[in-house]
Amino acid sequence: MRTRYLIVVATIATSGLTACSDAAVDQVTAPPSAATPVQPVANTWPSVEEYETNEISSAIGIQITPNPYFSADTLTFVVEAQVKFQWANDVGATIWASIINRNGTVINSSEAGMSYQRFGLPVASGDTTFVVRVSTNRIKCGLTGKAAYAGHAYTKAIDTKLLVFNLWEQEVGKTNAPDVVLPDCPEEPETCEPVSRVIGGAPAALPSTSGCDDEAPAPPSGTSEPVEVCYVIWREFWIIDLTTYQRTLLYAYPVGLYCFVPEE
């Protein structure tokens, strides 16, 4: 009886061992590995430790070089700004442009900005150029173009407490660029009438103070005045009171009768 009991135990143990061994498992194909979801790039700044590990330079820098000019047709004032930066992963710049006339009145103005952010370690250097254009409102002379610029460069990092702070930074405060001046407008015609006149034997020409009518049409070209006119010229003698400028006609007599015949 005792022997029989041992056999039963041994059989059970053997079965158990067999069941648990590899020999008991059929060859099966492993299921395809599930696509591992890509870990999204964290929109965050590099950690302080990364800076230390990669020995990032602290030589941060930013330079803004404006180039203001009027376009060739003088209808637009253009300000190009080149931004160069070093060891920064957060860069921003703004340029302002305005046009003033002789009286200092702003004719038109505009501004433009750029922003550069890199959620990673800063690169050694980078540069970009951006432009702002301002219309002269079709005024083509006598204007002054003014420009100013400002910018900043930061080296941003995140610490273990997930607080972002500026590791390094450099700012360019708002700085005026050199003015650009358009040539003066052509001078107004000295007079809308004969250009020069001499009075009292003085050789100098009289400047005119009359306003000019922009619209002073001329007769149709090629036409002559189909008018003949005769007139009498009288000579008059006046007494002028210099204290009151009152004039009194003494007498007048005809100098002669003249007739004008225009050229055919």
């Binding site: 007079t191 809308c192 009438e193 004969p194 020069s196 006149r197 001499v198 009075i199 009292g200 034997g201 009289l206 005119s208 103070t209 009359s210 306003g211 000019c212 009518d213 619209e215 002073a216 049409p217 001329a218 007769p219 149709p220 036409t223 002559s224 005045e225 189909p226 008018v227 003949e228 006119v229 005769c230 007139y231 009498v232 010229i233 009288w234 000579r235 008059e236 006046w238 007048a252 007599y253 005809p254 100098v255 002669g256 009768l257 003249y258 007739c259 004008f260 015949v261 225009p262 050229e263």
Partner: protein, 169 residues
Amino acid sequence: MPSTPTAPVSTMHRHACGLTLAITLLAGLSQTTEAQQIPPGSTRVTLVARALAARSQRTEVVRRAQQTPQNVVFVDQNATPEDLASALALLQALRIQNGDQLQSDFRAKPEMVRMRPSWTQSAYRDWIIEQLVRLRLATPSAHGDLGLVSAVQVTLPAAKGTVTARSQP
């Protein structure tokens, strides 16, 4: 610069628009009959709307030596295209006689006017009418010593023609 007239005086008289007093010189005028040495070029003329005193007078030409505008034509509201055309012709004649460098002031108005046969169909007449319309539509504004008046400017071409003395006193 007297030259042979192209129209007889009698013809001029037949077509005369009216006989009135003519030219007034505000100051001494010794060189009125002298020929102009330098042919006057184009010039601007200011047309000024103004009621003229004499009923028969609808235009008046004023040339001023020391004031601007230098060439002024006063135009009555009843002025016709013929009136304005004759005034401008008179102004051209004065320019030929005295040039544009004046030493005296002039006031003048046409004495006798004859329109050539081409007048009624001429582009010049249409242009004259346009200027009268411009003048009547002009907004009064300050024009120097002329005060607040309705005025427009026109450009007269170079004066070309002949001025002939018909009689001397």
